[in-house]
Symmetry: C2
Subunit: 423 residues, 2 copies
Amino acid sequence: MSRPAPVKPPTQIVVLGGGFAGLHLVRGLEKRLHRNEASVTLIDRQNYHLFTPLLYQVSTGELPPHAVAYPLRDATAPAGFHFLQSEVTAVDIERRRVGTADGELPYDNLVIALGSVTNDYGIPGVRENALAVKWLADAERLKRHVLDIFESAATETDIARRRESLTFIIVGAGPVGVELASSLRDLMDHTLRKIYPSIDFHADVAVHLIDSGDRVLPAMDPRLSAIAMRRLEQQRIRVLLNTLVSEIGPGVVQTKDGAQLRARTIVWSGGVKVNPLVPSIDLPKAKDGRIVVDDRFRADGRDDVLALGDAAYFEHNGKGLPQLAQVAVLEAPAAARNLAALVRGEPTEPFVYRRKGDLVALGRTQAGAEFAKLGGLVISGLPAWTVWRVNYLMQLLGVRNRGTLLVEWVLSFFAGRLVANTP
Amino acid sequence: MSRPAPVKPPTQIVVLGGGFAGLHLVRGLEKRLHRNEASVTLIDRQNYHLFTPLLYQVSTGELPPHAVAYPLRDATAPAGFHFLQSEVTAVDIERRRVGTADGELPYDNLVIALGSVTNDYGIPGVRENALAVKWLADAERLKRHVLDIFESAATETDIARRRESLTFIIVGAGPVGVELASSLRDLMDHTLRKIYPSIDFHADVAVHLIDSGDRVLPAMDPRLSAIAMRRLEQQRIRVLLNTLVSEIGPGVVQTKDGAQLRARTIVWSGGVKVNPLVPSIDLPKAKDGRIVVDDRFRADGRDDVLALGDAAYFEHNGKGLPQLAQVAVLEAPAAARNLAALVRGEPTEPFVYRRKGDLVALGRTQAGAEFAKLGGLVISGLPAWTVWRVNYLMQLLGVRNRGTLLVEWVLSFFAGRLVANTP
């Protein structure tokens, strides 16, 4: 009779962050690891994954908040993984421990997927005087603000004051800024116009989109920029390019060339920077603060620390991959495969990035799409809009969320946006 | 050539409150008044009508908030009526003026439909230490609280503390208390159980329902009380009858007979009292503070002031009609008919109250229904559940809301409740 083999304790895997990178990595681990091989704990300060590409639609009443919030326990519990809702406060690479608001966790393998936060590039007044569109609370705040403004403008008899209160400035003409501006105008033209008969939606309302670059969507194919530009003009959105913002005061955007733009609503969609916890982690960083990883997502060449998503600097053609959901979603399965291999002592494989293309929504039945794998084919109009909708409907996780998304899109399209100013 | 008849200025009608009474009255006026006959202004502090009978389902994640919030401008704008989102601060019956946070409004005809607020019956600590279920903000607060509690209980290793944190006390076994208790248990048994594997839902969780009366649903047919009682027992809800609460402290309910019941969550569904603005209005009141009206809804016999809904005392068989949505919905069309007649100088008609019956939901596929017009027929189980669902689906106003309601009910039934703890 042979002695039973000594039972190896399961490897402790801790994943920091339930954004696109962390969530899709956990889903990858579920497919690749047996329950007795590893104990997986996902930590996030929220109990849900936020589907950020559709967040702007919450601001403009096209979707209710719960459509874009996927419960993280739905991804962990069926797999036998653990979930901890807590704020990560420290990462000790040497002692292999993660500090949280609810105590310390030891790990054997760590995955840093802490994501990014809004970047104000040090411009004074952004945090105090502009609304952000990064988290669900931001989107709900913006929506309530817009509805409040129309409610008070409806009874404002002074034309000058009414027009100032109905001026909206969006700073940053990346995908979030462009999609938000376009959707905001749709909210006005197709829903608010019907219920605010005392407001002249042509003369009284103004939407401005400001960017420091020489075209909208500066990170995308120039043909998409041209499609977006035409559509924004159609929608009577004033686009101010080559315009650098020097300061944002209460109700006023100050530009570098001395102009002052007044608006009751100022939205900041200027970009993102790495999660503020990352600088404190003892790992090599790139110039922009992201954790430098090798082609297997290892930080500092360590097998026990992987980083991916917005918090990681994965070099590709001499630059870091962009901080986009698309990149995180492509990285996560490869990182999960490597992590499972590391747990088993098997060899890891390099990740090869293959860009898929870009999509931008441009309001009712309009969009732009570029397909990298079809030789850079660019389409617009209803076909692109259909691709956009189908793409996000399929990417959204969970039957519950998908059902809500589909129905609310249909209802918002045909029966009008959500304008009850609920708490 | 005859001189043109002098143009009579339109009658100024001001309606206070967009609850069931005010909203359905406005809808009645739309059908009965020509645009040049009267100028109608509806005032509410929210821009939406809250469908209170389904509010408890927001607390228990069966419905998202926007399902039960109907934009009031959807009822006023198409009719050419005005809407003012403001708090009513004063009513001057003599000078025919309404004071609001946004200034004074004169009226020719006033409709007081100011509704009710939570009644704590002077019991100390209710406001500070118990959660209410009257407004949308209450329901969302309760839902977030329940989700937070399960999240922290999931990592609580001390069994005694875990059990105390998972004890829920609902005070008041009227329809709101009964439906909430039953739905809360369904949330646990069908959704939370699957995502909190570390919690023992039989041993660790306790739901208590307390009432001072000798049966649940004391205002309904005793056969409905019996149906509800059986179902609550099936759902392992402990019902404490003949139990008077003397005080509510932080996490503790003190009863008149000296018992102390500890619970992390205490919900107050004890009943309602008239809107606190009503006492300041110079009109005769009933003992419970409601405005006494005659059988044409006239207050103090005045043609220029009608009152209805929870704020009005309409005598029927020697008692005031109950403060229920059902009563307000029956009163409103009759009041609208009389108001249109008053505007035209035509005779008004008395309102005859005909009770329809009662409905109570008792969780998944269970309910009780009593039909007053079918000789008091009482049914239960799946047939009553179907009646309950169809009834509320039809009563809800607006295609947008109805679409959401139907789909979210189906999704919550088959794919689980909404458990993303969104802000």
